[in-house]
Symmetry: C2
Subunit: 338 residues, 2 copies
Amino acid sequence: MKLEDSHISLAHGNGGRFMRELIDEVFARHLSNDTLDTNADSVALSLPGERIMFTTDGFTVQPLEFPGGSIGSLAVHGTTNDLAVAGADPLFLSLNAFIEEGVEVALLERIVADLGRAATETGVRVAAGDTKVLPRGQGGGIYLATTGIGVYRHPGVLAMNEIRAGDVMLVSGPIGDHGIAVMLAREQFGLRGDIRSDAASVLPLTRALRAVPGVRFMRDPTRGGLVSVAHEIARATGLEITLDEPSIPVRPAVTTVCDMLGYDPFYLACEGRVVAVVAPDAAAEALRAWKALPGGGDASVIGEMRALVHGGRVLLKTELGGLRILEELEDDPLPRIC
Amino acid sequence: MKLEDSHISLAHGNGGRFMRELIDEVFARHLSNDTLDTNADSVALSLPGERIMFTTDGFTVQPLEFPGGSIGSLAVHGTTNDLAVAGADPLFLSLNAFIEEGVEVALLERIVADLGRAATETGVRVAAGDTKVLPRGQGGGIYLATTGIGVYRHPGVLAMNEIRAGDVMLVSGPIGDHGIAVMLAREQFGLRGDIRSDAASVLPLTRALRAVPGVRFMRDPTRGGLVSVAHEIARATGLEITLDEPSIPVRPAVTTVCDMLGYDPFYLACEGRVVAVVAPDAAAEALRAWKALPGGGDASVIGEMRALVHGGRVLLKTELGGLRILEELEDDPLPRIC
C-alpha cells in the first residue's frame, strides 16, 4: 500500500496527482486485467458475436462490511447475478465509486480487494472505472455502481411472458439470510447471530438449468424479496400466484429474528438465490440439478401459477392451510441492504 | 406527472410499489426507447460486429442545474464524449441514480428530462438503469453514473503512444466555460455572469477528424482541464509539451473571473471541447474541419511536443515570451464541477 494518506480527501477526486495515486494504488492494483486501462477514456471489448446482454445496479449497503461479504463483493454479485438470471455469462463490468471525504483508505482497500476477488471468482473483468470524492457529510462512506456486459448462453427463451398457467415456482435455497445478516451487522438491535449473508454468484445455479427444458424465467430475489418477484410476475402475466408457506426454505435463525422484530422473511432480500418459473413437468429435473450443487441442498418447489378472472394477486397458503394475500411492498422493511 | 408525492422518500427506493411508480413516471417516461425494459434484469443489445468500446463516469456536480445544462445532460455528454474522443460512435448507456431522500420530484423530473433530451440529441439509448434512495443527509441531492457502449469508427489508430516529437496540440474551442459557469451558479461568490457551460456532445468534432489523416490522439479536457490532459500525455510519452499562452482560446469573461478569484483557466474543466494531437502536416486540415462546425470557430493550435532529455514536463510559453512550468494539479481549484 503506497498511498501516502490514510484518509480520503477531496484532492483524491480532483483529476490530478492524488487522484492518479488513488486509482493506481487502490483500484488498478486489485482490479488489474488485460482489458482495464486506467489511462484510456474508453477501452475496446472482445465480445463473441452473439446476443450481448447489459445491466446495471447501484449499491448503498450499510454497514459497508457484514458477515459473508461487503459492498465490494455485493457490487460484483448483484450485477453479474442479474446477467446470470437473464441467461447470460457475465464478461465485463464497469465500476463507479462515490467515496466520502474522510473514508479510511484501509477500509476502501479491503472493499476494492473484496470486489476484485469476487470478480475473479465469477470470471468477469472490471474493464472501466471512475471515482468521485464526495464532501464529508454528503455521502454514506462508499457508494458503488456496476454495469455488466454478458453473452446470452441459455438454449431457450427466458422471459416473463413465457410463463403459463400451471407453471411452478422454485427457489434455490433459504431466503432472507442477506437481509437479516446486514440488519444484525448494524448492531442497533443489540442482537448477535451466526447468520451470514448469502451473497454469492448464482451463475452455477443458472448454468445448471440450461440443460433443463421448460425453464421459462429466472430472477434473483433482491430488494423486496420473494414477494416482489412474485408481484412482478403476477403483474406482467395476469396470473395468480400461490406460494406454499411450508415449502419455502427459511433458516430457523432467520425465522427467530423475524418473529422477534416483526419482519416477514418473504420480503427480505437475498443476494445469492434464484427464483425460477418452470413448466410443471420440468420441476423435478430442475430441482435435481440445483440440489446437486453446493448451496442448492434446500432448493424447493414453492408455488404455482393459476389463470383466474381476478388475476394478478399473490397469495400465501399458510402452514395452517389458510390463504392470505401478500400485498406489494410499500413500507421499507430494511433500508440499505444492497 | 402522475407520481403522487412531491418529495422523494426512502420508500421510493425499496423495490416495491412506490419505487415502481418512480421508475415508470419519471425515468421510463423520459428515457423510453426500444431497448430499455424496466421489467428486465438485463436487456439484449444489438451491436454491429466490430470493435466495441466501453467507458464509465460518475457525476456529482453542485448545483444540479447551471446555465447551459444540468447533472442530467452532463451525465450523457460526459460519458458519450469519452467514447467520441476514443474514436467511437456511442450507442447505449446505462444510468445509475443515487437520489437523496427529500429531493423534490419536480427537480428530479427536470433533470431526467434533460438527460433524455441529451441522449436523443447524441443518438444514444439508455438501455439499463437503477435507482437507489439515500437517507437524508447522506447524499448531495442527486448523484448519477453512466456507462457507455459504442463502436469504434475512426479509420486509424487513436492512442497516446501514437504521439511523436514534433506533433502539435489543438483545442476545439474556448476553455474553462463549464468550470466558471458552475462556480458562478453556486452564487457563493456574489458574482453574476453570462457565462454558460460548454457542456455538449463533441461527437461532431471527433467525427470531423475521421477524414483527416495524421490524427494521433483525442481527449476531452474535463476534471483538471487542459493541463491535466497535457500531463497525462507527457507522462505516457516522455515528451515535453509547450503550450502557447496567446494561442489558447479563453473567453474574456472567463479570464476576468479567473483574474478576480485567482484561478488558472488552464486547469478548469470543459465539457464540450476536444484536445487533439496531430502530425504537424495535419494541423491545418484539422483546424479547417473544426472551424467549419458550429462551436468550432475558435479552434486553435495551442502547443507542440518535443523530445528532450528531461522529458515529461508541461511548459507554458507566456504572452510575454517567458516559459513557466505548469505543475500537475494537486489542490482542487473547483470541487464538484462534474
